[in-house]
Amino acid sequence: MITKDVIIIGGGSTGLALGYYLVNKGVDDLLILEKDYVGSGSTGRCGTGIRAQFADKPTIRMMKRAEANWKEISSELDFEFNRTGYLYLHYTESDLERYREMSELQNSFGVPTEILSPEDAKEICDLIDISEVKGASFNPEDGKAHPFDVVTSFRKYFRESEAELKENSEVTSMKLRRRKGLKLVKTPSSTYGAKVVVNAAGGWAPKLGEMINLDIPIEPYRHQAIITEPFKLGSIEPMIISMHHGDAYFTQTNRGGIIGGVGTPEDEPPSYNMTESLEFEKRVSEAFASIIPGLKHARMLRHWAGYYAMSPDGNPLLGEYRVPGHYLAAGFSGHGYMMAPSVGEGLADLIVNGQTDLPLDYYDPERVDRGELREDALQMG
Amino acid sequence: MIECPQEIPCDPCQANCPAGAIDLEDINGTPTVDFEKCTGCSVCVESCPGLAIFTVDCSSEKGCTVTIPYEFDLPEVGEEVIGLNRKGEEISRVTVTSLKTKGDSAFDTPTVTVQVQEEHVNELRNIRRSK
């Protein structure tokens, strides 16, 4: 058995960012296990967007910090984090009013969201058809980063650090040893032991829980996304959101493709199904072409599915869970990628120092056991 | 003369020979000619998809002729053309004695028959019009 100080299971944005902050705080005897390749789960399938426009205080605070951290990490690890903003388009007066109130809350935490007229929205992206738009909210500090740039930058970082990142290493079993508080983690090639084990396996987190007879209240919901053929860079700078068009979201990647999706129908049950549906292509084309008519002529190059790892209240499960030294960093319900750098920082603080200035207690996973559910975080896609 | 040395799946020469003079073990065999039975009718020249069959006829007193499949701009009867060998090199000038157009040919392949000196009958396999 090889012993480590900390083992992180899951090489997505959450596990990698946590590893990064642990190393920064001096935890070098660290192992990250990824069953496939970095970003092969939900990270590589995400919509690339990063926003602080949320409706609840803790998430606004977490995302404000996450955006600052994204900026720092991107310059240190040398990948693009483009602060091109999130532009929410509102098509009814009541939506506009709701988002106006939300923007005030966001402003109070230093998130500079503004309410724009339709004409101002068109200034930001002149391809938008504003004939039905009543107004928009825009936070210029929100942005996007290409997940493949991010995970490969992290991979390079871990190669050069003392910590170890092992890909193609699926955890096949876990055991808890009462004596010494060791947790044993087996892969097909080795057995590892550590006092601290973090389950950062996204939609697959419950499967790891089953190995140690822990019920982890997360369910995978299929969400699909598409990317079009590339267009001239700068065509669509911000992430454009319309709750009015089936929770549509899209932006342009730094490779030129338009990436995005629409929401999953509410009656679709949770499952590990990762196939794509033709129905989605119909809905996504109708939504995109209604918001930007020229997108009618954009061909989809690829279409894929990933999971929103949904917790009972749509907020992540962050922190120690039922067994000392057993941490959860999962159940992000669609926001894991964007939140990873502040989750990583906060959880690293908690593991190393036992405390953090970030509002992690709001996301205490045992809240579910206690029946203290939070308000749903603002979702889309 | 059948110049088809590879085992490729093909049999129209054998199937269409009116004299039954072409022997083929099976569809992947290499064809051989029984010259006792061959009448020189040149149906095989027209039917071979690989344009790999040529008729050499020295039975006439007037000398030898070679019939070749020719899917290019056709010369006229009586025209003097350049005779070429298997490498496309010039051998000698020869005269066209007869031809079959695509329409005349039973199998859609035009053929050209030229008068050839006896020493060149196993060499001449193509012609070129001298423009």
Partner: protein
Amino acid sequence: MRINDHPILSFPETETITFSYQGREINAKRGETIAAALHNAGITELRNSGDRERGRGLFCAIGKCSSCLMKVDGVPNVRTCITMVQEGMEVEKQTGFPEIPSKSTKLKSEIIEKKSPEVLVIGGGPAGLRASLTAASAGASVLVIDENPLLGGQMIKQTHKFFGSSDQEAGERGKDIGDRLSREVSDHPEIEVMTSTSAVGIFEEKVGIYKNREKFLKVDPEKTIVATGATEDMIKFPNNDMPGVYGAGGVQTLMNVYGVKPGDRVLMVGAGNVGLIITYQLLQANVEVAAIAEIASEIGGYFVHAAKIRRHGIPIITDHRVSRVEGTEKVERAVIEEVGDSGEVIQGTEKKFDVDVVALAAGLSPSYKLLNHGGCELEFQPALGGHVPKRDKRMRTTREEIYVAGDASGIEEATSAMLEGAIAGADAALSIGKGGPGEEDIIRDAREKLEKLRAGSYYDNLRSGLQEVEKPSRTKEQ
């Protein structure tokens, strides 16, 4: 640069129409593609690449690569090699990635329709046409689609006669077989034909198709036969993206389907059957061929095809690779050099050819992507040209409702593609309760013929590759 007198083909006069390129008026023949019309007008640089701003011309000419994308009537990224030119069309060159159109264009809005044929056949080449006819004759309703404006696949440009057994199509020109099958399919009351129609994906059992850039259709067939053919391979050398470097099949499409000469003087790369046959066809179209360069030590194609071009004095230079292509805006020269036994370049062996066309006949790869999307298990088999689906001897893939036939199942030739098509078509019909003993006979007979076709020593590699991917029965129930 039209071909006027051709010993085998005739290109009928059609109405002359006018379209614009970069604002300039250009004449075209009705029934030809935009790319063919531009080539005839001497315009071979069709766009500039996305990031390096290099000129790009036509390459595959059958809608499989993306070399010919242009802006047509305001719509970016149109495949001009498979889009018919229309009177008054506005064609523009794209430089870099295109802009998203800022306003709605002339195109009508999309209509979403549903179709439920019993058998959907994707691809109207030899395999797909034969599959359609066989399934329809057994009583199944069939929808056959093809991305190209014409049915017949690559057969419609094969001016040579096919080998094979005289009780099948042997001795018939590929073009004539293609025309005959296309006619039979178009005339068949149980078969619906949709050309200029692309399949965009196989989603569970539903297939999305897109017609004429206007209509999106959801097809819900009981069985799908994928007969998508193959893509020409690119090889690596400096300036391989320069206008004037074509797939050999692209050259063949231009000259034999549309009657447009690709250029004046050609270097053919590759002495397999494709390279040899197309060299011969270039000569028939009165285009000069400087040489054939072949990297292997031996000619890969049939002896008889090589003999046909040798007697025209065309040198076949083995053990040579293309080291580069030179030119300012388009190909002006090609340079080859000798390679040794272990692939090393032998210094001082450069040979230069002043040519304006370099045609690559460097191999084909099966067009497997729809099968992959449909969830069929694939395997990489070099002897079959690349990724191919696992299947049984009735051409059923690992997904029960999806069949494969023709080059998409492994690179061979049209005769075997037609036989595979017959098997797939007959079994698809049987599996939905159509047909009967007659269809079983068709399958047995086609299997026997396939075995005979592949029996010669020329096909040793092919046979061992096929053995790997042909499993006795389905490996997975869907």
